[in-house]
Symmetry: D2
């Protein structure tokens, strides 16, 4: 049989970006790599490779027809960490082709930055630095009038996938009571990590820190808006870490402006944010320009997870690290191509 081919079509990423040399070497031991990085792989090339392809690493469109022309194909691994609508998931399922994505690669850096932002909102770190630079700082007790201690404060997590669970692990020493709202999960999954399953309203009303990790779906656009912010306790903190689409963004800005809550956000409805957007001067906010996930180690993690799972699959073992594209879930996620992270 011809040498197995691994079709590498990783844009907007590049192999160099997502694989340390040692990981790439492992990949090369699995088959002949055919790589298209300057542009998406063109259709002729794809067609020529399909008969020999055992795996696709990238975002190549794979209709049912193409799948039929790829009899040896065992795995498609999206390295953008999305599930795109350009794959026939049911046909993959029927064929036993693994469709995977190393989605949790960003969990660690995002969770770490989330804790940094939460502590900033709690203890006023960036505001105090700004005041010091402006010569308007206060000292000691007087400087702590708005301080909330993060330790022991009730925390609410909205969306309890990889990011939420990693964040939960990071805050264990702070002994918070943690509530979780995630309609895709059973109570057991939540309670095993020492959290309480609640509905959204209770979470908003009881938590001093509310963190949103929920991925945007066909069902949850703008599900947190003015009425939800109104439920939060005065002076509480709200952190938006997933996608702008899940909140009513102007309502969030207004809630910070009024002093009702303090807010940190890593995402924005339009990125880059227009230069003259008035939100840039909002008080009680910490801004992060979609930068909590895009660290070098996270990108390398994408590559090492992909290769490790591919090694298993080519030995007829089950993948262990990447997320599987369960058809129901893949259809629900409102994935967009990623431009930056």
């Amino acid at each position: 049989m011809a040498t197995p081919v691994i079709l590498v079509d990783p844009l907007p990423r590049t192999l160099e970006q997502i694989m340390a040399p040692s990981v790439r070497a492992r990949l090369e031991r699995l088959g002949r790599l055919v790589i298209s990085e300057a542009r998406p792989m063109n259709d002729d090339e794809i067609e020529a490779l399909l008969p020999h392809a055992v795996a696709i690493i990238g975002q190549t469109a794979m209709s049912a027809e193409r799948l039929e022309r790829a009899p040896r194909l065992k795995a498609i691994i999206n390295v953008e960490t999305n599930f795109l609508p350009n794959i026939d998931y049911a046909a993959c399922q029927a064929r036993g082709i693994w469709v995977l994505t190393p989605a949790s690669a960003f969990a660690a850096p995002v969770a770490e930055a989330t804790l940094g932002l939460a502590l900033d909102l709690a203890r006023g770190i960036s505001a105090a630095d700004r005041a010091f630079r402006a010569g308007t700082e206060t000292y000691g007790l007087e400087a702590n009038l708005d301080t909330i201690r993060f330790e022991g404060a009730p925390v609410g997590i909205i969306g309890f996938g990889d990011l939420g669970r990693k964040f939960r692990e990071l805050i264990r020493p702070f002994r918070n009571e943690v509530r979780v709202y995630d309609p895709w999960l059973p109570a057991e999954t939540i309670e095993r990590l020492d959290c309480r399953q609640t509905d959204l309203d209770e979470l908003l009303e009881r938590s001093r820190f509310v963190v949103v990790f929920a991925a945007p779906t066909t069902e949850n656009a703008h599900f947190i808006g003015a009425p939800q912010f109104a439920r939060m306790q005065k002076g509480s903190a709200f952190l938006l870490m997933s996608r702008a689409a899940v909140v009513d963004f102007p309502a969030m800005i207004a809630a910070a402006c009024s002093g009702h809550i303090r807010v940190a956000t890593d995402v924005f409805p339009v990125e880059p944010v227009p230069a003259d957007d008035p939100m840039r001067t909002t008080p009680n906010m910490v801004f992060s320009a979609h930068r909590t996930g895009g660290t070098r180690d996270a990108l390398f993690e994408i590559g090492s997870m992909a290769v490790a799972d591919l090694e298993l699959i080519l030995k007829d073992l089950s993948p262990q690290l990447c997320r599987r594209a369960d058809p129901s879930i893949a259809g629900r996620l409102r994935s967009q191509p990623v431009s930056r992270t």
Copy 2:
């Protein structure tokens, strides 16, 4: 026998500041309180109370002569959290009078803020917020060129008392390799908390985050200066959390200015910092105006630790929460009266 008297002389603190009502009620059950909060208790009043005093809560001067005139005295609890030179420690020791201070009351808020500052230096949180407000932000990967992941980075802790140990507990989920330099401790104490005892040079050379909690003593003034900063890896982070006196402050500012290291400091040689001090514009720094410890809960912790230990002492049990003024240590600490925290 006359009602036992508890002499309360807490300036610069006040009872209201350091005791929640329920804690004050517990204190009142232990004896008759005589309180001087508007000014330090005057000598005549002190002399009149000495024969009946079972405890002093405050910073009253207690010479050997006064101690002789206080035959029922069992405890002196400093609520400034210093050991001042106005007490005859040896005479207290000989009499079995407990001299205590609830020094660890500040450990939790300082450790929490230290982690916030460390994550800020690691992930560029306040700098990114400042850039966003100035309209000069970058996004995604481009915004992370200087990012260090705190998770997994080698950490060095200088001074491993209550603050250092609490910080060590908070960072456990980050799985750092932690080195400790503390010449007052045996290796066993350090290793039990899963840290490695090292000398100062190794700590500086190997750590990506160096945190100073060392209290100023008669022996350690300016022990971290230009040669020590030079040993640190380029781009590493230095956090000064204890007192300005232990470092060569101008050398620290210079090391940040040059871009050799990034720095966060909560303390300054002169506080308030002069309005025109040029350090206010130093890049690669996060400034905190001596505000990491002075939270409401920390002050209440002072009161509840003091009362809990006094309850034990008056039952002839050993105190469990406050630090004891071991004569050797009390003489070494360069305590100053606290004005703000």
Copy 3:
């Protein structure tokens, strides 16, 4: 459309055994239950139900033909916690029918008992009790000549599925160096739980406690025998927690008899063990009659995991708690019907 039917065919278990009343009530809200507990459901009944069945809870044989006659079927949940060969896994895969088993239900009680057995081998608990009852006990230091401290001892785990990982969590406070051998897993999965991936020989040579959780497969019969026991350090402990078939059982008994190692086993080649089997008097062993998993709470866990996942599946969400029958794995496991646990 007709009321959805849930076919319940749980032998050798019964619904009462695996579901607390509150869990059963949740199940009844999902569809009309048709239950056969006195005997396996007969073919006629099965055929009559297939058109309406949305789920099967039990071990019913499901050929491709039967699957075709069950157009509404979404899930088959084996409550014996095996994957039996009486299901056409590929056909289920093609149809998107979830084939699941709550395999991890036994992880907690088995892991707990494993630690109990390990501490027994380490500290000689049952042997000392036996000696005391016989009047031959020794005291203090003299009684500890063979003691190994479990704390800090190197541990090796063979098979790192649910059982092995739960055991790993239980022993965290003991600060062991933990090696793992599991050929189905990538290094990443092992390292995330602070263990080291090793080959079998290194694990046997370096560990003072070797614990076998490996499920029997088509590939691993008797893979631990006399040569493997010989590699272990004298006086080390070997615990067999999965199935007798993975070891050379007589060689294991011989290794305990000779005093080379100490052994605990929960499983036997034939159960019940014949009354006159000479192994019953083996020294340096602790015997457990296939009883570490079969606790009431474990059985209830089977039911609550099954129902929680079924609730999700019937909402078109992904199951979260049960193990999925990946075709490759299901074919490899040498499952046998369970009679007792």
Copy 4:
């Protein structure tokens, strides 16, 4: 000044027993050792050494008069891990002489064995082994009729010193609700370790596992007797790990005999237990012949703690590892010379 002398009078221990060679080498660097191991040091020798002694490692009687003749003495370290009445504690206090004992050396091995015994009572490990050896074993579910899962069961700890706290750390992964009764401690100390302070009755009534680590004092002889056992829930477990004197031993045996509770004990009113003592056949019990603490590593820990603290003291620093003989406590403990552990 003459070479400092360290008087070593360690019976019933020997230096070899308590110090690894590397630790002994560290001790020898601190002064000239004068050792009496064959018998207690005789008075003449002691008198001759007093003028030069800087430290005593052992149980030498030290009256006020002797202390006066030892002007250079800085530390007395009892290596039996008792505070004996043969020292004038007040005089030591007045002189600032540290009186110490490495009491926590036994905490780790005792806590480990306590968990082993608790799991044995929970899961019936030694009873099942005994049944198997007798050919009367049952299998699977039938063998678990009396099983209690330790995980999640309420635990009560009586006496929360080094042993109790170490045990508390070991059981963290089991997520028990932990109650503590210790009249010498404030609530804060207990709550910091995530336990609840309760009175004795509540602890006995609510806990499924009751563990006694309380040291015998002048106040607590036989404080747990028939009325206390009667408060315990049927089938609960009672573990006696400290000294027989704190319980009504016959009442404890009776409570096991009747089947009301299950019991493990490491201590007995008379040791060795008489050969014909009828308790030897008590059901529902696990017997340990005063052997949980006396491990080689615990004895070495005594030596290394003593030497590490002496190193600090001779540098005028405070000891960090050994327990201090607070006069009030030393007078309350009913210490007896130790013969075996």
